[in-house]
């Protein structure tokens, strides 16, 4: 994926609805941001939610997962320094909506759900993203929050040292070009 399409994905507009209770939750998140010193934009709850979400998408298997790769910290950097304010707020709104959906599905915030409940919600998000992609909406945007999250999780993971070296077997100096190598060669597909 090249840089231009990455930019397109991350700045793709997402629908925003404003309502008084969201303003209240904004106030709450501002407060928590002050409390949480580890991240520059994400408050403790948002950070913890992203840690779980990204690690559900790319869990540790025989190689480390998104958590070990620090994908949540990379997302915080993009929110702090890369995205425009409007797109950053849309991303955070989408993250907040995960809790809204969690409460509707199992009566608790996402983080308080069981791993099964959390995974079930992601299955729903994944289905919705696939339906969106197949619909005429996909050519117009806005893309679902989950699709943005899935892409940035992939990007953050595969450009991290653990993701690139242990999962993808990325070599800085391949040394040669093998035009027709066996497909299971431990090296990225170029």
């Amino acid at each position: 994926m090249d840089r231009r399409s990455a930019l397109g994905l991350l700045t793709a507009t997402m629908a925003v609805a404003s309502a008084p209770d969201e303003l209240l939750s904004l106030g709450r998140s501002l407060h928590q941001r002050i409390v949480n010193g580890r991240r520059r934009v994400l408050n403790a709850q948002q950070d913890a939610s992203l840690l779980v979400l990204t690690d559900l998408i790319l869990p540790a298997t025989d190689t480390p997962g998104a958590k070990a790769a620090g994908v949540n910290a990379f997302i915080d950097l993009l929110l702090a320094e890369w995205l425009d304010t409007e797109d950053r707020d849309r991303f955070l709104k989408g993250l907040g909506d995960v809790d809204t959906r969690a409460r509707a599905a199992f009566g608790k915030d996402f983080l308080q759900g069981t791993p099964e409940q959390q995974a079930a919600l992601l299955v729903a998000f994944d289905d919705e993203a696939a339906r969106w992609k197949a619909s005429p909406e996909a050519t117009r945007g806005p893309e679902p929050f989950y699709r943005t999250l899935k892409w940035v999780t992939l990007f953050g993971y595969f450009t991290s040292e653990v993701g690139a070296t242990q999962e993808e077997h990325y070599a800085i100096i391949p040394g040669r070009y093998v035009p027709c190598a066996p497909a299971d060669t431990l090296a990225p597909s170029e």
Partner: protein
């Protein structure tokens, strides 16, 4: 009394490096003036992995938008290599609002040779005779036979990898062994050979990247990011190859941070006598003298220097008795093509990052062939590859099984991307914008340039023909496209001080020597009379070496 050099070369990039090498090797005391900073191989970043970059290669988007809103339009101006592109605020230019032009520039020792695309294709008489045949603009004052030995000379030194094809429209050169096509590209090559035998040919790109050790430089190790530099000197740029040779002669003085304001004209002798420079750091004015001056500053910068050097004898720009200086600006039109998914061996994938793609030489309007509704032609670059983890966004699922599925390579994809010839047009021109100066107080260019109907017709045809070729190769999900790229985007800007036989209609003669001023030579892209559709750098380099040889002879004969 300041020192008088034998020669001053303005610019240290693709052509400046060649002028430095050829002139110093001929024994001339040569001063190379470079507007930008010195760089060395320590500036190279091709082996820095993404996780050591702050944004992992996504770029420092806000900084780039603030400092390099134009330069960032070049694919190579990224988180790693943006330091090789100019700051747009220090280096402004103007256009009319409805006529955008992208001036993508590098100011450092090595110029744009640091991050060039490295594709190398000879021109043929199909190209050198094109204007004469079509009755457009003026005829080239040279033919293939004039430049062929100089192509040989340049290619032998820099090292070009490629495959000999024996095609009249794309002459073979002095090639090192070619890079390999991958098995997806081989599928498309075979389909073309079957459906258009002898007519449409797919070959590996001919490129200035070594496949064998050559002249003290090492073969490519396939790290894949030449535009970030190359510590093994495997691709050609001037700091890897030409400037070190010039330095070895003991005749080279290289002065970075030397922004050329204008040339000094000696009215009595009807010669240029030197160069006015603004020091890039102190902004102090300083002058340098020489017997002969080579402008190798890039097409638009050389035109700007000559336009800013107007005198009472040359009120519309130095060496501009023809009135053609600044006119006939061209840039390849690019971006007509098609993508698709191809059926290639599922059990194979390419491994290693080959910094090169495929090439399909021009097949329209060849000598003796059918005539199209448009003039001239186009060639394609492109290639095949298999999807990697990036496809995960739209691969349904998540979690352990999904992560495992991403280990297998995805679909084989293939893309054709067309580069078409741009016709010379007197109305496409540059002038000095007297209302604006750059950071060194030098008046900037106003650029007027648009593509015409013929250019767009070429790209439309390129998209249709690409889709047709993909269909012939059994591709699916074929997507033809015509990118709406503004001129300048191909970074193959040419013209503004064209060569020609007649001083009334051209700025330079057949040896890149100004008709009006015999000790002034312009050997960068400004000299071009037409664009062909092939990448132009090798032709600039060959013309530079040829002009140096002529200038040295003329100096020996005391003509200049």
């Amino acid at each position: 009394m300041p020192k008088t050099y034998d020669a001053i070369v303005v610019g240290s990039g693709m052509t400046g490096g060649w002028a430095a090498k050829e002139l110093t090797e001929a024994g001339l005391e040569t001063l190379v003036l470079e507007a930008g900073r010195p760089i060395t191989t320590a500036d190279y970043v091709e082996h820095v992995p993404p996780w050591q970059m702050r944004f992992r290669g996504l770029d420092d988007r806000k900084k780039r938008l603030a400092d390099q809103p134009i330069q960032r339009e070049c694919y190579a101006c990224d988180e790693y290599s943006s330091k090789f592109f100019v700051n747009d605020h220090d280096n402004p230019y103007t256009t009319e609002p409805d006529k955008p032009f992208l001036w993508l520039r590098g100011r450092q020792v090595g110029g744009r040779s640091i991050m060039w695309g490295r594709q190398v294709y000879r021109w043929s008489d199909l190209d050198f005779e094109a204007n004469l045949r079509d009755g457009i603009a003026i005829d080239w004052p040279i033919r293939y036979a004039d430049i062929a030995p100089w192509y040989d000379h340049v290619e032998r030194f820099i090292g070009i990898s490629g495959e000999k094809l024996g095609l009249p429209q794309l002459p073979d050169g002095q090639f090192l062994k070619p890079m390999a096509l991958n098995c997806g590209e081989a599928v498309v090559r075979d389909a073309l050979a079957k459906h258009w035998p002898g007519e449409r040919v797919l070959t590996i790109g001919r490129c200035a990247i070594l496949t064998e050790d050559h002249n003290g430089r090492a073969a490519c190790h396939y790290c894949g990011y030449c535009e970030r530099g190359c510590v093994t000197l495997s691709y050609f740029n001037s700091i890897n190859a030409t400037l070190p040779v010039a330095r070895q002669t003991g005749k080279l003085t290289l002065r970075p941070f030397s922004v050329v304001h204008s040339l000094i004209y000696d009215k009595k002798r009807k010669r240029v006598s030197g160069v006015r420079v603004i020091d890039g750091e102190t902004k102090h004015a300083i002058e340098f003298r020489a017997r002969v001056i080579f402008l190798c500053a890039s097409t638009l910068e050389s035109a700007r220097i000559l336009l800013n050097s107007a005198t009472p004898d040359f009120p519309s720009g130095l060496a501009n008795s023809s009135g053609e200086l600044g006119h006939n600006l061209m840039d390849h039109i690019m971006g007509g093509g098609a993508n698709g998914k191809i059926s290639a061996p599922a059990d194979k994938k390419p491994v290693g990052r080959r910094p090169n793609g495929i090439y399909v030489p021009r097949f329209r309007n060849l000598a003796g062939g059918p005539k199209s509704t448009f003039l001239r032609g186009y060639g394609y670059q492109g290639g095949a590859g298999r999807d990697g983890w990036g496809r995960g966004t739209d691969l349904p699922g998540f979690g352990a099984d999904w992560k495992k599925a991403l280990r297998d390579p995805g679909d084989w994809g293939f893309g054709f991307y067309g580069f078409g010839e741009c016709l010379p047009n007197h109305n496409n021109h540059v002038e000095i914008d007297k209302t604006k100066n750059d950071a060194w107080g030098i008046p900037v260019l106003k650029i007027h340039c648009t593509y015409g109907d013929n250019e767009w017709a070429l790209m439309k045809d390129a998209s249709i023909a690409a889709a047709e070729m993909l269909a012939a190769a059994g591709a699916r999900e074929i997507t033809p496209f015509v990118d709406q790229n503004p001129p300048g985007k191909a970074i193959h800007e040419m013209g503004t001080a064209r060569m020609g036989r007649d001083p009334k209609t051209s700025v330079l003669n057949a040896h890149n020597q100004a008709h009006d001023i015999p000790n002034l030579f312009v050997t960068d892209g400004a000299c071009m009379v037409s664009t062909a559709c092939q990448n132009p750098s090798i032709t600039y380099m060959a013309l530079t070496a040829r002009a140096c040889d002529y200038a040295v002879g003329a100096m020996k004969r005391r003509e200049i």
